[in-house]
Structure formats: structure tokens, C-alpha cells
Amino acid sequence: MGGYGAYVWTCFAMTVVVFVICEWRARLRQRRVYRDIEVRIKALGDTQ
């Protein structure tokens, strides 16, 4: 990479990391919301 390898690869690696983090957190959020709703359903089911 003509001596600039460290710079270039760092950037690409950073990009991958950011995308992974975003995807991960989005999934976490989704999972948490699902769980919250399931708990809510169960709670309602119990009281009825």
C-alpha cells in the first residue's frame, strides 16, 4: 500500500466496526422491545 497501509486499513476496519456496532445495537433494541411486549402480554394475561 505504498507505506500508507496502516492508515488505509485502519479506516476500513473502523468502518466495519461501526457498521457492526450499529447493527448490533439495533438488534439489541429490537430484542429488548420484543421482550418488553411479551412481558406486558403475560402480565395482562395473568390479570385477566
Partner: protein, 228 residues
């Protein structure tokens, strides 16, 4: 829905990255360091695009009171902040070998992009500080709209002021100023990033809408039918 975005996105990014890293010829001025462009430009473009999406949907939500629009704005914010950070970070790393410095405080484009990062933070902070969802939606919408004035400043800053940052290369009179071997991977990366952004946004919007409507029957039925 999401796979429709992820698959083309990954393909485009894979092609773009491979071509950008290995196939495209070296830039005569910058050597191999210019290859950072293949992640820097898409991030920067997307950081601005996301802000516009956020501001526009916030505005739509504010004016026409469409709840989905507010959900989109809320979902877009963290993604936009990440892209802005990525643009700043990759730009900084690129700047070190090219301009000799990690950061240049006098540069209008760097500064206005940094301002946009702070605007994202402020938007998310305001949302977090207001408990009532409807109120949070509307307040942050006002903020997003006010801050939208910054986006054209970022884009045109290189034309209005003398800047370290190079001038527009793609969207200019006379067509792109790049050789096709270098250009196509870049376009692929931009498009690929956009698709992946779409996938991320959809996932977040889905979670957001479900959360907001968690008390309604349709949500309960949907979750139930998904099975435990």
C-alpha cells in the same frame, strides 16, 4: 424487508471495497492513501443525508402529525451520529499523511461537520430529557429543523471559503472529475453504504414503532403470532 437492503448493500460494498483497494490505480498525487476515499466519502455523504432524512421526517411529523415520521427521525439519529463520527475519524486519519495534521481547526468543512456531530448529540439529548414521547418528538423536531441550516453549509463550505479540504469532485458542472476506474468503486461504495443504511434504519424504525405502539392490540397479536 430488510434482506432486500442488506444483500445488495453487501454486494456493492464488497465490490466497491475490493476494487477500491486493489484494482483502482494509485493516485498520482496521494499514492495509496487516497483509497481512504472509499469509506470517507460515503460516510460523509450519508452523515448529511441522514440528517436531512431526520430533519425532513421530523418536519413532516411536526406539520402533518404523522407518528411514523417521528419514529423515523428518532431511529435515524444514532445512525447519523455514527456516520458523522466515521466521516470525521476517517477524514482525520486521511489528513495526517496528506496534510500533515490530524485536525485543522480553521477548516470550514471540518468545523461544520463537527458542528453537525454536536447537533446530533443535542438532538438525542433533548429526546432523552423529555419523558412524554409526543412532546419529545415535537421539541426535537424543532431542534432538528433549526440545525438543518448547517447541512448546506457543510456542502458548500469548500466553495465559499478557502479550505484544506478539496473541492467538489462528483457533483459539479462538467461531470465527475475522476477517472472511471477510480469512480465506479466509489459510486458502488456510496450506493452500498446507502443500502446498508436503509437496512439499519428499517430495523431501528421497526423497533421504534413497536415500542411506541406496545399497548395496542395489533402489536400484541403480532408478537403472539410470532410464537414464543
Amino acid at each position: 424487508m430488510i434482506p432486500w437492503f442488506v444483500v445488495p448493500g453487501l454486494f456493492l460494498v464488497a465490490y466497491g471495497a475490493y476494487a477500491g483497494l486493489f484494482v483502482a490505480p494509485m493516485d498520482y498525487q496521494q499514492g495509496d492513501a487516497f483509497r481512504i476515499i472509499y469509506v470517507h466519502v460515503p460516510s460523509a455523504y450519508l452523515s448529511m443525508m441522514t440528517y436531512m432524512i431526520m430533519a425532513t421526517s421530523a418536519g413532516i411529523g411536526l406539520i402533518w402529525r404523522i407518528k411514523l415520521a417521528h419514529a423515523v427521525a428518532a431511529a435515524a439519529a444514532p445512525i447519523g451520529a455514527w456516520f458523522t463520527f466515521l466521516a470525521l475519524a476517517t477524514g482525520s486519519i486521511w489528513g495526517k499523511p496528506m496534510w500533515g495534521t490530524w485536525w485543522e481547526w480553521g477548516d470550514p468543512r471540518l468545523t461544520s461537520e463537527l458542528i453537525m456531530l454536536f447537533l446530533y448529540f443535542g438532538y438525542m439529548a433533548l429526546r432523552g430529557a423529555i419523558d412524554d414521547t409526543a412532546k419529545a418528538d415535537k421539541s426535537s423536531a424543532v431542534l432538528a429543523l433549526v440545525g438543518a441550516v448547517n447541512v448546506p453549509i457543510i456542502h458548500f463550505s469548500v466553495e465559499w471559503w478557502s479550505s484544506l479540504h478539496q473541492g467538489p469532485t462528483l457533483v459539479r458542472k462538467g461531470g465527475p472529475a475522476m477517472d472511471t476506474a477510480m469512480l465506479y468503486p466509489l459510486l458502488a461504495m456510496i450506493l452500498g453504504f446507502t443500502f446498508l443504511f436503509g437496512a439499519l434504519l428499517l430495523r431501528r424504525v421497526r423497533a421504534e414503532v413497536l415500542y411506541r405502539e406496545r399497548r395496542t392490540r395489533w402489536v400484541r397479536e403480532m408478537i403472539l403470532s410470532k410464537g414464543t
